[in-house]
Amino acid sequence: MKKILAFVCALAMMTALFAGCGNNNNEQPSNSGNEGGGAGIAVENIKVGVIHIGDPATGSGYSYTHDQGIVAMQQNLGLSDDQIVRKNNIDDADATAIENAMNECIEEGCNIIFATSWGYMDTCEALAAEHPDVFFSHGTGYKSNGTNFNNYFGRIYQARFLSGIAAGLKTQTNKIGYVSAQGSENGECTSGIDAFAMGVASVNPDAVVEVKVTNSWYDPEGEGQAAQALIDDGCDVIAQHCDTNNPQIKARDNNVWGVGYNSDMTAEVGDAVLTSVVWNWGAYYTTAVQNVINGTWVPGTNVENYFGSLADGLLDITALSPEAAEGTQDAIAIAEAAINDGSFDVFTGTYTDAAGNTIGCDGVMECNDGTTLEVDGTNYAAITKYYKNVVVK
């Protein structure tokens, strides 16, 4: 009898608790700056949430790169440490964990949440509807709602094209390896490979790009093995689109060269890395938060998607290694100038190189299966065929 009584009490208490919650369910703490319509939110009232798939403390890799961007944004805008809420190690296959992490950011009063991994997309969409006065900014995906949920990404293919020039000039065997996380069905990887291959072709029409797929975004062992297989096949430059620097280490250990990705891999591997294709997320994070402060973005009314470029500073290649072939710097400079003045965007437009050749497919790519494909960098996800000089291994 006592137990039943205790249970009834517990039930009553819980009901009371929930009832209490129900009344002010959607009330958000501390962001009242948008009443004036477009007035923005004062810098001191800004709070930024970041959802990381890993732990930035590891010092390299995906989450670290994104977090460097957050740190840069914080410095640029002069935010204090407690204006940044980081949720680390949020598994992007665990929908509940994602939702909990984002809700916690909202609880702590965040006005804008950066969700850095692809798997967070659906949860962003759902929570954006539930919390119309919070911005949800999702990296690398494709969904958005125009009012408080956008996506951000960049024309990384521009940097890849430039790195392809370095690889094409360096190769002696005319075989360049490329370790890719995903196969041709993945537009992000495929467009990157195509851009790289075009860069190679622009300076070395005889070279081929041999692609090996690991089917995983993070597979230290598999990435190394893939690189080794490519080297064994005669490749003397190894480029990559995957998380660890193992392909570069394999290249160095076999006395060949490489092209890194994500962060400057010369730091860990040395001069065998000719250059690295890098993201500079700080460029976007600063712009986005600035937009919220300025009132350029007003929750519930407007927010644009972001697709950054070389010119925006969102992406780049790192300084060339001393081991890069002679003339690389000049060849890259011509292409970079064309990209920056808008006349050339890898998949669209053309430019003239030092020898007077016209470079660029101008919207119609010749594929390695003999067909052609209409291409456009902004629609990278639809590019699921390889450029003519690509061989899948």
């Binding site: 665990d94 509940t96 993945n186």
Partner: protein
């Protein structure tokens, strides 16, 4: 005689069965000790333990949203604890709550993904039953194999967890892959119709949880089937002696046990995840075992223990972002607390006696009084 050894330094001695009050006291002591050692750990890595503990608690209750989140953590933990409670009462060591929960989610997800044309409430009811059946079948397999071939249920249920997990991965990468997800494999988010409604800001799973607590309690305490579970758990020979069909009881109970975990999976998938993901169980099936055990297989206590666990989980998540404390540190803290509570279970049954310590005799024991009265009788004659 070369064996003039000293008395051993430490001996393990069984104590008398402690009263309920004493054993509760010991458990409370364990929690206090755990907090103390956890505090020491926090201090060692350079934080103020009082601040951290305060943040854990305030993090759970600082706002309605925080409370809702805490309750949300509680739901799958409590439901899976209820599931294993049934099996454990029968002394069937069901370590497969995780897999049963996953299979419940898989079965329910089938209807969420492919039958979303049904009316909302009907769809929910169908998914609920599907979740129950899915988990139940996953619990039935090890039970049937044990009854038929005498397989080891602990290993069997454990292995089925991984199979269930890989079934989800297979469905995600293959037949149920969301075609819109370019390159990244995932299962599509459920249609709004297939979502569990929210009541007071938390998905209705909490109501399911409370109802299940009461049902499991009544089932075990008041029904004939519950009584049979108790008898089979104590001794299969006694059950046979009483004319109980042991095989039927084992199969039925494991179906129910898995079924309850399956309901947990359905609730988690349709209430919280709104999709089927590999992280749907996320270790909750294992936490449920610890909870059921700490609760001494009492459903109401399991509810309380689950809530305590969700405070720990939610609170340490807040601590992680508030202090930049790595999530690993929060796990270590949880581990310390669990370690102490489990170690205390040992001391509820045993004590250590040091060398040189002489047992003081109880002043008056049953044996004494009986013997004395026997003596008296003898004298009278």
């Amino acid at each position: 005689m070369g064996t003039a050894k000293k008395e051993p330094l430490l001996r393990v001695v069984k104590h008398a069965e402690l009263s309920t009050r004493q054993s509760i006291g010991l458990r409370v002591l364990a929690v206090v000790l755990a907090l103390a050692v956890g505090g020491l750990f926090i201090a060692l890595i350079g934080y103020n333990p009082f601040e951290i503990y305060a943040t854990i608690v305030s993090g759970c209750f600082r706002s309605p949203m925080a409370i809702q989140a805490t309750v949300k953590f509680c739901i799958p933990m409590c439901i899976s604890a209820l599931g294993v409670t049934l099996a454990f009462k029968m002394r069937f060591w069901n370590i497969g709550g995780e897999g049963q929960l996953i299979m419940g989610a898989v079965f329910a997800s089938f209807f969420a993904l492919f039958c979303s044309g049904m009316p909302h409430l009907l769809l929910l009811a169908v998914m609920f039953i599907a979740g129950f059946v899915g988990g139940g079948l996953w619990g039935l397999i090890p039970a049937a194999c044990r009854e038929k071939w005498g397989t080891n249920e602990t290993l069997f249920t454990l292995m089925l967890n991984y199979i269930a997990l890989y079934i989800v991965t297979f469905l995600r990468d293959g037949p149920w892959r969301d075609p819109e997800a370019a390159g990244f494999n995932k299962i599509a988010r459920f249609a709004p119709k297939a979502m569990l409604d929210k009541v007071f800001g938390v998905h209705a799973g909490w109501i399911v949880m409370l109802i299940l607590v009461v049902l499991v309690f009544l089932y075990l305490k008041k029904t004939k089937q519950g009584y049979e579970i108790g008898v089979v758990g104590e001794s299969r020979d006694t059950a046979r002696y009483a004319g109980i069909n042991v095989r039927r009881v084992v199969l039925r109970t494991m179906f129910l046990s898995g079924g309850i975990a399956g309901i947990g999976g359905m609730v988690q998938a349709t209430g919280s995840d709104i999709t089927l993901s590999a992280g749907v169980a996320g270790g909750v099936g294992f936490t449920g075992i610890i909870i059921a055990w700490l609760a001494q297989l009492n459903p109401f206590v399991a509810l309380i223990v689950s809530f305590a666990f969700s405070i720990l989980v939610k609170g340490s998540s807040v601590v992680q972002s508030a202090y930049g404390l790595s999530t690993d540190c929060a796990d270590i803290l949880q581990g310390i607390i669990l370690f102490f509570i489990m170690a205390m279970e040992f001391f509820i049954r045993y004590k250590l006696v040091f060398r040189g310590h002489r047992e003081k005799l109880p002043v008056k024991t049953a044996a004494d009084t009986d013997a004395a009265s026997g003596e008296k009788e003898a004298e009278e004659k």
